[in-house]
């Protein structure tokens, strides 16, 4: 295990050191299931609302979802990068990085400016994430995932390690379920994390207490088709049409209509239920 760098020597863009407050790292697969992506985003949003600073790695998948969620929740978020702070990797996250900075967050790195993405730099970055945070939440991780490096480092550094359970049929649950079996805290919602941190008691009474926010918010029923969709596995339009004995053209149309309302999402060649109404584009 690489030891974490001196936190005082990190390069930063944006507000650094960050404002006071508990810091939680949300990490997970770069290629999550729709479920994992939604969990990361929702969890980050709820934590951010409770005043938690969300730390993640600006990578594809769960990392990006966590940063996005924190921004949706109106919070501060820190991206710990495996490149120099002047290089946004992947380049597709350029706008996300700008939004993080604009919202009072920071991009930080232990690597000098100009460091391009190198495979061996990312494990060290994962350790830094653990060192910066009070707790680490793993959302979805296959065996050997980089997110597990962060979890292991957190263990060594005596930080809290927590994990979100997933489907037992999904390879993406192997890493998280192993963590839970080995004693990591179970995360079903933001409250579980806040309880472990011992913070946010007063906040708990407010937005998070509303019964419908105990779990994840489900969209209101708009179309009977919705109950035949899953939020973990994709269902194709063809499967739905067969199940409901409806013409495929009608099913396609109704799915598209739900997609327009943000109630379902496309994933590959199928559809999944969106856990939360998608943020409307400005």
């Amino acid at each position: 295990m690489t030891s974490p760098p001196d936190l005082g020597s990190l390069n930063a863009r944006g507000r650094w050191p960050p404002p006071d407050g508990p810091r939680v790292a949300i990490v997970g697969s770069r290629r999550p299931s729709p479920y994992g992506e939604a969990v990361a985003e929702q969890l980050a949003a709820d934590l951010a609302r409770a005043g938690v600073i969300v730390v993640s790695g600006l990578a594809l998948g769960c990392d990006a979802a966590a940063h996005r969620g924190a921004l949706v929740g109106g919070g501060v978020t820190i991206a710990v990068m495996g490149t120099g702070v002047d290089i946004v990797y992947p380049a597709a996250h350029f706008r996300l990085a700008e939004e993080i900075l604009a919202a009072g967050g920071a991009l930080i790195s232990q690597f000098p400016d100009g460091t391009s993405p190198r495979r061996h730099n990312f494990p060290a970055r994962n350790v830094t994430m653990a060192a910066l945070s009070d707790a680490v939440v793993v959302v979805e991780a296959v065996q050997g995932s980089g997110a597990l490096i962060t979890a292991e480092a957190a263990l060594h550094l005596h930080k809290e390690v927590m994990a979100v359970p997933g489907s037992i049929f999904s390879p993406l649950s192997v890493g998280t379920h192993a963590l839970i079996r080995d004693g990591a805290g179970l995360v079903q919602n933001a409250r579980d994390v806040l309880a472990v941190l011992g913070v946010g008691r007063e906040v708990l009474d407010d937005p998070l207490k509303a019964p419908k926010r105990l779990g994840f918010e489900l969209p209101g029923e708009r179309d009977g088709i919705l109950i035949h969709l899953s939020d973990v596995l994709t269902v194709s339009a063809a499967e739905l049409a067969r199940k409901l004995h409806l013409p495929i053209s009608e099913v396609l149309g109704r799915l598209t209509s739900l997609e327009l309302d943000g109630a379902v999402r496309r994933h590959g060649a199928g559809y999944v239920r969106a856990l939360r109404r998608a943020k409307e584009r400005a």
Partner: protein, 503 residues
């Protein structure tokens, strides 16, 4: 003595008239061939000399000059052989060729007249140029006789032709090849009834057939993309006479008309391999470009399997033909334009290993690799493909339990009705509607316009994407027999797009 015989050379789908003049004069026995002849034509000297001798005719033992006029036009090919031989024979003995007659054919050393490519094209053009009689190789006579109002004389060998011209020995003209449409009751090789499940892709194929829309199928290996694509010709109407003629002309140029059946009523289905070169797909070659696969697929289906494996520049070159329905190629000989009005069906894996999004096997590609792979397809080419559908793999164990769909003949009835509506309304298929005509001919209900606008606002549709959905909605309405485009048609149309791949 001087003799003049007419023939022609081809420049794409056009024929250029060539006057073959032979003059035998006193002097040292020699054979000059002038008039900008390419190597294949210069070689005709040796063929013609042997053919005449071996036919029992006298080759002039004088100073012989053959001129190909107009002399500034470069001539290629072997179709001028027969005209040269006839001109030389007549120059020696005297005699005239009947008015408004032309000769086409390659010669063998024994005097036999051999097949040449493009006789149908030549016959059609020569008829237009005012010729009434055409002497062609016997093997090509049926093809030439497709052109109404042209007397076609089948030629077996040079001796026969010369005897006919000099002494009026009869050669029976080829009867007009009546291209009556055959009722196609053949059993389809690929029938939609054989496909289990895949309702979404089946529907997309139906819409593609009805509106002439281009189609992209994306899915893992073994999901049945190729099989689906091969079902498309079976639900299309047979070719119209004019269309069948267009198809036959391109095949004629390439020497690919099946003997005994010059007109084929089934729509072409071309499936070139992804290693194909630019010249092979688009057309090319030296002198005048010859037609490529896209022109062979004219009025039919061009199927590009493994779309992302095609060379990028080859795919880019598809853009002009996809837009205009024809292709213009310039080579050293000049520019030629070939028709290329086809329905593109493309198939692709979602990623290099093929398993991205599969429910059983996991994809082993890194996100960067997937991104690069999908980017090869994105942009201008995909923007021109109206229908984009994901195809899911059905595990073999479940295949038998998946319901079979309707047979191709049933689907075809709906397709035919929808196409008839479009042709009656606008004279072309929906896929060919330009935005300006779309506004006039494809009225949207107020609600459906709102849906389309909301979608483009939220999902950031390009103008092209907007019109694409509009056109497909028009076809969905036509399949239902509805003149007005309802909300459900627009929503269905918006469903035919790949979230990951498409813009």
């Amino acid at each position: 003595m001087l003799a003049t015989v007419d023939s022609c050379v081809l420049a794409g789908l056009e024929a250029r008239r060539v006057e073959v003049q032979a003059d035998s004069a006193n002097g040292e026995p020699k054979f000059f061939l002038v008039g900008l002849a390419a190597t294949s034509v210069k070689e005709a000297r040796e063929r013609v000399r042997s053919a005449i001798k071996n036919s029992g005719l006298a080759f002039p033992g004088k100073r012989l000059t053959v001129n190909l006029a107009p002399a500034e036009m470069r001539k290629t090919g072997t179709a001028l052989d027969l005209a040269m031989a006839v001109a030389i024979a007549l120059a020696e003995t005297g005699g005239r060729v009947p008015e408004r007659s032309a000769f086409l054919g390659e010669l063998a050393l024994d005097g036999a007249v051999r097949h040449v490519d493009g006789v149908l094209v030549a016959a059609r053009c020569l008829k237009k140029l005012g010729y009434e009689r055409l002497f062609v190789p016997a093997a090509d006579a049926e093809e030439a006789a497709l052109v109404a109002g042209l007397e076609v004389i089948p030629c077996g060998n040079v001796a026969e032709v010369v005897a006919h011209l000099r002494r009026g020995e009869q050669i029976a003209p080829q009867p007009f090849t009546d291209a009556a449409p055959e009722s196609s009751t053949d059993v389809l090789e690929h029938d939609l009834a054989e496909i289990h499940g895949q309702e979404e892709a089946r529907r997309a194929i139906e819409v593609a057939a009805a509106g002439g829309h281009h189609l992209l199928l994306s899915g893992p290996p073994g999901s049945g993309k190729t099989m689906l694509a091969r079902c498309l010709p079976g639900i299309l109407p047979p070719l119209e006479l004019a269309e069948a003629f267009d198809v036959a002309q391109v095949r004629s140029l390439l020497g690919d008309l099946p003997p005994g059946r010059p007109i084929d009523w089934t729509r072409p289905f071309r499936a070139p391999h992804h290693g194909i070169s630019m010249a092979g797909l688009i057309g090319g070659g030296s002198g005048y470009a010859s037609p490529g696969e896209i022109s062979r697929a004219n009025h039919g289906v061009l199927f590009l399997d493994e779309l992302a494996e095609f060379q990028a520049n080859v795919l880019q070159a598809l853009r002009q033909p996809l837009e205009t329905g024809r292709v213009t190629i310039t080579r050293s000989g000049g520019s030629v334009t070939y028709p290329a009005l086809f329905t593109l069906v493309a198939a692709t894996n979602p990623c290099p290993c093929g398993w991205l999004g599969d429910s059983v096997r996991t994809c082993r590609c890194t996100p960067a690799v997937v991104d690069a792979y999908q980017r090869r397809l994105s942009g201008p080419l995909l923007d021109r493909i109206d229908l984009q559908v994901g195809v899911r793999r059905v595990p073999l164990s479940q295949l038998a339990s998946e319901p079979r769909g309707e047979a191709s003949v049933v689907v075809r009835e709906r397709v035919l009705a929808a196409r008839a509506r479009q042709l009656a309304r606008q004279g072309c298929l929906n896929a060919q509607l330009r935005p300006s005509r779309l506004r006039n001919l494809a009225a949207l209900e107020p609600g459906s316009r709102l849906t389309l606008e909301r979608w483009s606002e939220r999902k950031g549709l390009t103008a092209r994407g907007f019109h694409r959905a509009w056109r497909v909605a028009r076809t969905a309405a036509d399949l239902e027999g509805s003149e007005l485009i309802a909300d459900r048609h627009v929503l269905e149309a918006l469903g035919y797009r790949l979230h990951d791949v498409a813009a």
